[in-house]
């Protein structure tokens, strides 16, 4: 099924997605959009895992299972994160990350 697409393409794609996520993480102020950036990052990692698994170790399943677990983790993470975000919103009436800085100093 290696359809002539070099593995590097997948990796570069994942890289771009990853750094788009990083950029979002660094610049967005809304906690929810930050969460979305994190999802992007996780996704790019998943792509990498699967690409490596398919191209380099096609006889094994590690990459696939890892991705599977990452998805599961991402789901629970999203659930908890959104719970936290809602809670924060309740307390601070904002989800702007720059206003939530009780932990400084």
């Amino acid at each position: 099924m290696n359809s002539g697409i070099p593995i590097q393409y997948f990796l570069i794609l994942a890289t771009m997605m990853f750094f788009a996520g990083v950029y979002g993480f660094l610049t967005r102020r809304n906690l929810i959009t930050i969460l979305m950036s994190v999802e992007l990052i996780l996704n790019s990692v998943n792509i990498n895992f699967l690409a490596f698994n398919r191209y380099l170790y096609p006889h094994k399943l590690e990459g696939m299972f890892f991705s599977l677990f990452i998805i599961a983790v991402a789901a629970s993470e999203a659930a908890v994160a959104i719970a936290i975000i809602i809670n924060i919103y309740r307390r601070f009436t904002t989800i702007n990350v720059e206003d939530v800085n009780e932990m400084k100093y």
Binding site: M1, S3, G4, I5, I7, Q8, Y9, F10, L11, I12, L13, T15, M16, F19, A20, V22, Y23, G24, L26, T27, R29, I32, T33, M36, S37, E39, L40, N43, N46, I47, L50, A51, R54, L56, Y57, P58, H59, L61, M64, F65, S67, L68, F69, I71, A72, V73, A75, S76, A78, V80, A83, I85, I86, N87, Y89, R90, F92, I95, N96, E102
Partner: protein, 178 residues
């Protein structure tokens, strides 16, 4: 055919990723994210991981994005535009992200991936199911169990955290008073 599909998906992923992180409207950003996730599942199909692609579609595109959209609806107005971050921050972040991306790309291109001679394994549901519950060398029962516990914990945690009117269980006392 495959390359066309790949180009299509990857173009969508790149474009929508960037749009996700730059869009000024939050609901739009969520929708762009949905597109990215769907395109990714397309890539999984392309790589012949149908099960995972399905999981991606249902869990990510179906579950998480819906969750996100719900929370957006709970916390902000749909059409709310958020003020853009300072240009300084944007520029520095962009430089950092670009540098990182270039670095990674250069590294990737530099590296000679050796093609494998192993025969590919058919990934079907039976195999996945067996592996997940197997205690053998190739089995994943332990991570599977851990993940189930994690999911349970996350569920409980989400409920506890988001529960209204019971702030005593969480947060520092100083926050409670606000």
């Amino acid at each position: 055919m495959a390359s066309i599909m790949f180009i299509l998906f990857s173009a969508m992923i790149v474009i929508f990723s960037i749009l996700t992180v730059t869009s000024r409207k939050i609901l739009r950003a969520a929708v762009f994210l949905l597109f990215v996730l769907v395109s990714t599942s397309g890539l999984y199909f392309l790589l012949n991981y149908q099960f995972l692609a399905a999981v991606q579609l249902t869990l990510y595109a179906g579950g998480i994005v819906v969750l996100i959209i719900f929370s957006i609806l709970l916390t902000s107005h749909i059409s709310q535009k958020f003020e853009s971050s300072g240009w300084k921050k944007n520029i520095f972040s962009a430089i950092a992200a670009l540098t990182g991306a270039i670095l990674c790309v250069i590294t990737i291109l530099d590296y000679k991936f050796s093609a494998t001679s192993q025969a590919a394994q058919e990934v079907n549901m039976r195999l996945i199911g067996k592996s997940l519950l197997s205690v053998d060398y190739d089995g994943y029962v332990l991570p599977f169990e851990v993940i189930s516990v994690l999911l349970l914990a996350a569920m409980v945690a989400a409920i506890v955290i988001a529960k209204k009117g019971a702030p005593k269980t969480i947060g520092s006392p100083t926050l409670n008073q606000e």
